[in-house]
């Protein structure tokens, strides 16, 4: 179970705004996190607190395959991302590096910027404490849940 403040974004948040390519000359997680969401929300890095969540619309993480995008989000302290849907490479990358993600249309619609949100990782139940609502996220397929439980793809192979 995690609980934090929601940072809300629209549909089609692309990996270029999550981490602009001008910062891809490094693989340092800390340096990437310092520029997370910079081109869509320049105050994100200043405002984000450990345990916060990102909520968004359709097709979150579309565009480039850069794993730097989920890395930057995870390193910035964000506990999980909730979206109506995820672009497929971002989806794989998040699972592979151990950034929890939840696909939930109702939550992606209802959660507003600044809402206090709790997520139960075991049940996929998302609770909006500000609005007194709950939403049910899609469960992960068993095969993918196994990767998550092991802490990422490479650990699941060992």
């Amino acid at each position: 179970m995690v609980q934090g403040k929601a940072h809300k974004y629209p549909d089609n948040v692309d990996t270029d705004v999550i981490i602009p390519a001008r910062y891809l000359n490094t693989a340092s997680h800390k340096e990437l996190a310092a520029h997370c969401m910079e081109d869509i929300d320049k105050d994100f890095v200043k405002n984000v607190r450990p345990g916060d969540i990102i909520a968004a619309g359709w097709n979150f993480g579309c565009g480039s395959s850069r794993e730097h995008a989920p890395i930057a989000i995870k390193e910035s302290g964000v506990a999980c991302v909730i979206a109506k849907s995820f672009a497929r490479i971002f989806y794989r990358n998040a699972i592979n590096i151990g950034l929890p993600i939840f696909e939930c249309e109702a939550a992606g619609s209802a959660i507003e910027n600044g809402d206090e949100v709790a997520v139960d990782y075991n049940t996929g139940v998302i609770t909006n404490l500000t609005k007194h609502e709950t939403y049910q996220a899609q469960p992960l397929p068993e095969f993918i849940q196994h990767i998550v439980d092991k802490g990422g793809l490479l650990k699941s192979l060992q």
Binding site: I89, I97, L153, L154, K155
Partner: protein, 423 residues
């Protein structure tokens, strides 16, 4: 129910007789690709996980193309890390300055990928090789690391959308216009998680360069892969070029498609995607009428940096001058294309017109270097993405178009119809 091309290739690589949409499988890989941005992250993960060998040194390609020739010290460090890894594991297909090209132009040109292959690449435009009838998809660096170590990757078998092509391209319309038209129709998540399968009698009017361009942008509709049926044009391209035997898969007559979309190629007009999504497609007539003054033109990339792209740009620019205050940057995608541009006189045409001609690099497409945009500047680009800040400042704008439209716009100083640039 029968299988699509993609499903057949995945079944064969998973050692199964048949697969169906939604099934999770483990597939054997014929090629694992990385570049100078994604490989360092993969190498870090590979080493952190304690792997000490690669599955097959002939089936890994590392292409230094994004920030190479090195744009700054950090980029130089990343290329150096990739180079050292290639040396340590004796990676045969390591392409550095002097041999490299933009990865998705280079691998087909070198014959490293072919029909029936199962390919992953830590670059979203890896879907390009579907033009050859391969299953090819973009993944992240951790998948690349696992692929290099084990030679396998997990996939969820995709459902498919069939694009039934009829008619023939006319005038200045190209594969780029077809794919922008399609993305405009179905949207940037219109094919999310799915295959885009292209076939039908219209294939005959699409060159390999048109097909490579179209498959390249399947990801811009959210697709897992784009794939073309193999015909004589594909075979003519592959024969004498591919470095391994290939297998041609055709879709079953009763293959299941979620949707079938008919595209009449003869009706496709040159098309421009307006900021800030590739789905904001407008015909050249609408785009030119909007009277959009521009600051820069880029002609190149994994989408449109091949020889026929250079030919289309040269045909428009021959005897013309780039408008004052417009920077026109031409980037042949590989050393071979670069050499052919010189041999065929295209380079002279570009230089006479006032363009700059660069060594291959992805540089400006992703706002890396070699053409970064300032605040509020506008660029017509033959690349594949026009997201906020993609080519530079967050307030700059990118208009995606074909080489012919980009060249005409360079001459006019605003978005222009290549059919209306005076002889």
């Amino acid at each position: 129910m029968g299988m699509t091309m993609t499903q057949k290739i995945l079944a064969a690589h998973a050692g199964l007789d048949r697969v169906e949409a939604g099934q999770l499988i483990m597939a054997k890989l014929d090629m694992v690709l990385g570049n100078d941005i994604t490989s360092p992250v993969a190498i870090n993960e590979f080493e952190k996980a304690g792997f000490d060998s690669v599955f097959d040194k002939t089936k890994i390609s590392l292409v230094m193309d994004h920030f190479v020739p090195n744009k700054d010290i950090k980029a130089a460090q990343q290329a150096k890390q990739s180079r050292m890894f290639a040396d340590k594991y004796d990676i045969l297909n390591f392409y550095d300055v002097g041999e490299m090209g933009v990865e998705h132009a280079l691998l087909p040109e070198k014959g490293l990928v072919a029909a029936g292959d199962c390919v992953i690449g830590a670059d979203s435009h890896t879907c390009t090789y579907g033009a050859l009838g391969a299953f090819s998809t973009g993944v992240g660096s951790t998948d690349m690391a696992a692929g290099m170590a084990t030679g396998q990757c997990w996939f969820k078998v995709p459902a498919a959308i069939r694009f039934e092509l009829s008619g023939a391209l006319s005038g200045h319309a190209s594969g780029k216009d077809v794919i922008l038209h399609i993305i405009g129709k179905i949207g940037v998540d219109g094919a999310l998680y799915k295959s885009m399968e292209f076939g039908g009698p219209g294939l005959a009017s699409l060159s390999m360069d048109d097909r490579l361009c179209m498959a390249n942008m399947a990801i811009e509709a959210g697709a897992k892969n784009g794939i073309f049926e193999v015909d004589e044009i594909t075979r003519a391209y592959m024969d004498g070029r591919t470095q391994h035997a290939y297998t041609v898969y055709a879709p079953d007559a009763d293959a299941e498609y979620e949707r079938v979309i008919e595209i009449d190629l003869s009706a496709v007009r040159p098309t421009v995607a307006f900021p800030h999504l590739p789905e904001n497609a407008r015909t050249i007539d609408e785009a030119a009428a909007a009277d959009i003054a521009i600051d820069q033109v880029v002609i190149g990339s994994c989408t449109n940096g091949r020889l026929s792209d250079m030919a289309a740009a040269a045909a428009v620019l021959r005897g013309k001058k780039v408008a004052k205050r417009v920077r026109a940057i031409v980037i042949p995608a590989t050393q071979q294309v670069y050499r052919d541009c010189i041999r065929l006189g295209y380079t002279d045409i570009f230089l006479d017109a006032g363009c700059v001609v660069s060594t291959p690099t992805c540089g400006p497409c992703l706002g890396g270097y070699m053409g970064v945009l300032a605040e509020g500047e506008r660029c017509v680009s033959t690349t594949n993405r026009n997201f906020v800040g993609r080519m530079g400042h967050p307030t700059s704008e990118v208009y995606l178009a074909s080489p012919a439209v980009a060249a005409a716009s360079a001459v006019a100083g605003k978005i222009a119809d290549p059919g209306k640039i005076a002889e």
